[in-house]
Symmetry: C2
Subunit: 276 residues, 2 copies
């Protein structure tokens, strides 16, 4: 298998750093020592592990990318930048012929897909790069579509815990509520219990101290009307590594698609999961 060359854009941002680290540690990949960065970034260099990278400011990216393409040959791009940059970056990637994995959320998503579909490149676009969580949601969606009313009469409790700064309710939990609604449970998003207090997170949930600042824990509990049956589904994520791992899977998937000469195609994480 050929080594997959990747440029991670969005350094020195923390998600971009986590992805760059995992790429450095994985022999299936080669990290290119460059990263497109935002206009607010003053530094022109940054270090991931022991690798020094050049941070490329917006006004220099067109000329630098042309040079890098010449010296490195074809490569893939992973975008962990900023919601406000999503559409402009996609335009840039499409114009330069850089296939990309878009790990950044926000922006105009339908325009984003349209940009790729009218270009000559392929891209993986996913609002959630955590492969196993996406798989769990797909299982729930399958049940909701095929077994409506399966949990009719059951009571439901949903608890989610995230770092103190997160103001809104977990998007994953809200999506799962919609599946449970189809499964026969009239549960409102507002009934999701949000835990944001680090003391409770540590003492009651047992979340490790180092992850108080970055975690996503979810538990769904179903109890039958006569209380004799209890189902519980839990997915607890600490830190960002699961998203980086999913990004690497998406990059390998995209690399296969490029080899197969796919163009103007948008893939989702479900496509990556299916692996076809």
């Amino acid at each position: 298998m050929n080594v997959v060359k990747v440029m991670v854009n969005g350094l020195p941002g923390s998600m971009a750093q986590t992805v760059a680290q995992q790429i450095l540690q994985d022999e299936r990949f080669k990290l290119l020592p460059y990263s497109l960065t935002g206009p607010e970034i003053q530094e022109s260099r940054c270090t991931v592990e022991t690798t020094a990278l050049e941070l490329i400011a917006p006004d220099k990216r067109e000329s630098r990318i042309a040079q890098i393409k010449q010296s490195e040959g074809p490569f893939l791009t992973a975008d962990y930048t900023h919601p406000s940059a999503v559409n402009a970056n996609a335009d840039f990637y499409c114009n330069c012929g850089l296939p990309f994995v878009m790990g950044t959320t926000g922006g105009d998503r339908s325009l984003l897909e349209q940009t790729v579909r009218s270009s000559s490149i392929a891209a993986v676009i996913a609002p959630n790069m955590a492969k196993q969580i996406v798989g769990f949601q797909a299982m729930m969606e399958y049940a909701a579509d095929n077994f409506p009313g399966l949990f009719q009469g059951y009571s439901l409790e949903i608890t989610e815990s995230h770092q103190k700064g997160k103001a809104d309710t977990s998007g994953t939990a809200k999506a799962v509520v919609r599946y449970f609604n189809k499964l026969g449970i009239p549960f409102a998003e507002e009934s999701i219990v949000q835990i944001r207090d680090p003391k409770i997170q540590q003492s009651r949930l047992g979340i490790p101290e180092k992850y108080l600042s970055g975690h996503g824990w979810h538990t769904y509990t179903l109890v039958s009307p006569d209380s004799t049956v209890r189902f519980e589904f839990t997915h607890n994520v600490n830190g960002r590594k699961i998203y980086a791992a999913g990004t690497l899977d998406a990059l390998l998937f995209l690399s296969d698609k490029i080899t197969a000469a796919e163009k103007a195609r948008v893939y989702s994480m479900i496509d990556v999961l299916r692996g076809v």
Copy 2:
């Protein structure tokens, strides 16, 4: 909606009793005061709640069923008898034109289906009547078929607890192991942790005392290679009510099929779940 008339066979057996009780409590059904029973049963009567039922011994069933059909009109049958009676009972139901839900396990299952398919009746045949457990297994099967390798690298622990008398490993847990194998985890059936000690069940798992003699608790725990991600799926069943509830759902489903004049058809619990 017409009331569905049901004869529950296998009284005074405990599963048949649980089903008969739930039928008595549900106004969508009418319990016929008769039950086919085995040759070893001495009694000719039995009481469920306050309803007295006639127990019909094998040598009298042909003539009694003919009389009952004449007096009651069409009715459905739920079979909770004995593995050794499964095939002979199915023959009898098919010959007498009694559509049935087969809740009894064992016997020659492929012959059982064949018997129905070459008859003029329809039947629901399910080794597991717990609708929500069947639904959970279907979700796992969907993931296994569509997202092979989803949990590659994850470690897996499976713990199941059942009443002291149960010698073999949970069949549900073994089925779920096969799905996890497809999902990328090389886990052997023998690694399933079986708990059969009532003391541990009470103190460590917190199983209520009244259910120590009849329960099926299952927990599947998945941990990512770097330990940052944890998934846990639990389904805990106390007593037999979930199976009785599923039997009632299967009876309603079968009643609709009879109304639609379906014949020579075998339905599974998945069909009941789909409701189509």
